[in-house]
């Protein structure tokens, strides 16, 4: 227990998430808020601990401050361990090299020593920008049983959407014979979820070769996986069924939040057997006032609701004052919507204040796009923010 870990998880959390625009100006995508009291990375971290994986390296690069702070010693996820636990792995200056992480594969290659310190036989590669609940232990069993060198988790997607994903073409036994990144004419609907388990020795071999190739993009999808396939290594597709969403765009982030609502939500967080953990402060209970109307919404600690909230997901310490209306929206930690203001079909990042009688966004039916307001922005009293706006300063 104190000498060796069978499997080490490496969580790629360095991505900028540029398609989230205003939401990732000040922070990396994995630390963007989700579902009220969570951050995107909570799902992967909770999946790890719920799967019995207690050694997780988190590779950071872009705007890591909030993420460092958030993960801390890993206590909220029960990942504060004497041996193992969660470790933040930023790029560092080495004896031979001092580099930023040049690609996903390069990031892992630079931290091979971390993996070897635990004498791990298997390495699980994860990305910190997906919302899903998955038991990695089952995938590891599958990997061991099939004797694969690399197992890739795949999910069935509608054929018309397949060209947005990395698509695996498989034989009947689940082995992969072809991998095509965003193919124009997909011949399979098995999309890669960006979750890989490698047998460590094979991973090390291919990462080393890749590191010596100056023309390589040092990317798993573009280089490592095709190289391994070409060399005839045993690659298996691990079929996953269940909720999985890439929240890399404003639209998909909004949708994933809305998936928490409704009588039979696509994604339920009330599952006691697979809890999602998060770090939170000591917020007071939520208060719903005398004239408030709250329907089909998710509200968490510290909220103070005196206005109308419908079809929305609200984070900690959100205040909706008397006469204010919030509909079809996602309000992150500390957002205040003042009296008489209206917020529709919008995402408001942390600590946004919407002034009295201001209007943000439009009815979902008529609005073209989700309206987004970045962290700490104050919308002055009476201002109208048109639908589809993307505001990081005001």
């Amino acid at each position: 227990m104190f000498k060796k870990k069978e499997c080490v998880a490496m969580l790629l959390a360095g991505g900028q998430g540029s398609r989230l625009y205003a939401l990732t100006q000040k922070t990396a995508k994995p630390s963007v808020s989700f579902g009220g009291k969570y951050r995107i990375i909570d799902f992967t971290l909770s999946n790890c601990i719920n799967s019995g994986l207690d050694t997780v390296g988190v590779l950071t690069q872009y705007q890591p401050l909030l993420l460092n702070d958030y993960i801390g010693n890993g206590l909220p996820w029960d990942l504060d361990r004497t041996f193992g636990g969660v470790k933040i792995l930023p790029p560092y200056q080495g004896n031979q090299h001092a580099d930023w992480y040049k690609g996903t594969a390069n990031a892992i290659w630079q931290n091979m020593e971390f993996i070897n310190r635990y004498d791990a036989k298997y390495v699980l590669i994860l990305s910190g920008d997906h919302i899903y609940k998955m038991n990695y232990a089952k995938m590891l069993d599958f990997h061991k049983q099939t004797g694969a060198d690399c197992s890739i988790a795949v999910i069935d997607v509608p054929i018309e959407e397949a060209s947005r994903f990395g698509i695996m073409s498989t034989n009947e036994d689940g082995s992969i014979y072809k991998f095509s990144e965003k193919p124009k004419n997909p011949d399979s609907t098995k999309a890669s979820m960006g979750i890989y388990i490698f047998t460590k020795d094979k991973l090390q071999k291919y990462l080393e070769e890749d590191s010596k190739n100056p023309d390589s993009a040092n990317d798993f999808g573009k280089n490592i996986i095709p190289n391994m396939l070409a060399a005839g290594e045993k690659m298996m597709a691990y079929p996953f069924e269940g909720y999985w969403k890439d929240v890399g765009t404003i639209r998909s982030l909004w949708e994933a939040n809305m998936d928490l609502l409704g009588e039979q939500p696509a994604l339920s967080l009330l599952d006691e057997g697979w809890r999602i953990f998060s770090r939170h402060g000591a917020e007071a209970p939520q208060f719903v006032g005398e004239d408030a109307i709250v329907e089909n919404s998710s509200i968490t600690a510290g909220a103070d609701i005196c206005g109308i909230v419908r079809n929305s997901v609200l984070g900690p310490d959100v205040v909706v004052e008397q006469g204010a209306i919030v509909e079809d929206s996602v309000l992150m930690t500390g957002v205040t919507v003042k009296a008489g203001a209206t917020v529709r079909y919008s995402i408001l990042d942390e600590n946004v204040t919407v002034g009295q009688n201001a209007t943000v966004g439009e009815y979902r039916m008529t609005a073209s796009e989700v309206t987004v307001i970045g962290a700490d922005v104050t919308v002055p009293d009476g201002t109208k923010v048109p639908a589809g706006s993307m505001i990081s300063e005001m």
Partner: protein
């Protein structure tokens, strides 16, 4: 100036027998997500008192489970932190030491090692039946500046604003803030000043109090230590002005909980600048309000699912209110499940209670209907 804290977790257990049959006063759930001890503990942590002993007596399993190693209060420390002080019972005949304590002085005798070893200049004593958010640093500063032997935090209650169903310490305070009289009785009318039982005393003096009590067989902290010394020594009152409530019965518990629905009480307790109230983290999901939910003037914890009507209620974590159900003026503790088309008024459910479909239950605010832990109606 350094201070340690000592919390009495059982002292008032008889106040709410309905709820303390299975737990200590300190671990009575309160205010959606807290236990009573959270207030005493958070007040200490928020005032930089990070060396805290909790004196326990019996039924302290739930308290141990709640407090754990103290990390939720940032009190899991190498030096100091939380120390649970269970009753000091030895296997040998040794009068006074091998039986459970019966009063505050005896409880202190059991904590004599903590008092001797904690090494701080002062000790802050606190009970678990008071609900308030107080900056103890100011009490300590006041205590040191005045040169008092002991400082007691007091609260003035206006006539008609209180109801006590057991004796409390009623104080007379002179113009200079000196306590000149102490009486343990049940105040009934008029404005009164009562002791919150939060007290500051120097550690050396507390050591003397305890050894003196052991030597002379003293029994009552109030009568033998405070009342007898009022003339000889300066015992001062520190007037606390913030929101306060004290729980002395089930009806009092109900009333005090309902006071949280008043903005002032809630803001003063929970939104008081940096002084937050900490509690054990449970990682419940956010609360879900269905399309059929009608919630008014209520305080809710996380993890609830609301499909019916909820008015003037305090709902703890993971409470379920089914479709067509109307819940008014109720306090539903953690994991209470109310089915569909039920009707509840002035009901307190303990943890894990199941109320099946179509049930109608009603109490009165002066006599709330209490349903014990794990019961099914």
């Amino acid at each position: 100036m350094t201070a340690a804290g000592l919390i009495f977790s059982n002292i008032h257990d008889q106040s709410i027998p309905e709820m303390t049959r299975i737990r200590t006063m300190a671990s009575i759930p309160y205010g959606c997500r807290y236990r009573l001890i959270d207030f005493a503990l958070s007040n200490m942590v928020n005032s930089d008192i990070t060396n805290v002993g909790i004196i326990t007596h019996y039924n302290y399993q739930s308290l141990m489970d709640h407090v754990g190693n103290g990390k939720d209060w940032d009190l899991a420390r190498r030096s100091g932190g939380i120390k649970i002080l269970p009753p000091y019972v030895t296997a040998y005949e040794n009068v006074g030491a091998n039986k459970l304590y019966e009063n505050r002085l005896e409880a202190l005798m059991g904590a004599v090692n903590f008092i001797n070893k904690c090494g701080t200049d002062y000790i802050v004593l606190s009970d678990c039946d008071v609900i308030l958010n107080i900056d103890l640093n100011r009490v300590l500063e006041d205590h040191v500046a005045s040169g008092a032997y002991m400082t007691i935090v007091t609260k003035e209650l206006e006539k008609g604003s209180y109801r006590f169903e057991k004796p409390v310490s009623v104080l007379k305070v002179d113009e200079d803030g000196r306590i000149v009289d102490l009486e343990d009785r049940c105040p009934e009318r008029g404005n009164v000043t009562i002791s919150t039982n939060i007290m500051v005393i120097s550690r050396a003096d507390l050591q003397n109090v305890v050894s003196d009590a052991i030597a002379r067989g003293l029994k009552s902290f109030h009568k033998d230590i405070i009342a007898k010394n009022l003339k000889k020594k300066l015992i001062r009152a520190y007037k606390f002005d913030g929101a306060y409530s004290m729980i002395s019965s089930l009806a009092g518990y109900f009333e005090s909980s309902m006071k949280l629905l008043e903005g002032d009480m809630r803001r003063d307790l929970f939104h008081n600048g940096d002084r937050r109230i900490y509690t054990k983290i449970r990682n419940s999901a956010p609360t879900k309000y269905a399309s059929t939910a009608k919630v008014k003037n209520s305080l809710l914890a996380d993890g609830c699912v609301i499909e019916g009507t909820v008015e003037n209620c305090i709902l703890f974590r993971n409470v379920h209110v089914g479709k067509g159900t109307v819940v008014k003026n109720c306090i539903l503790l953690q994991d209470t499940y109310v089915g569909a088309n039920a009707d509840l008024n002035c009901v307190i459910t303990d943890k894990n209670v199941v109320i099946k479909d179509d049930r109608r239950l009603s109490g009165h605010s002066t006599m709330p209907f209490f349903i014990g832990k794990n019961e099914t109606v």
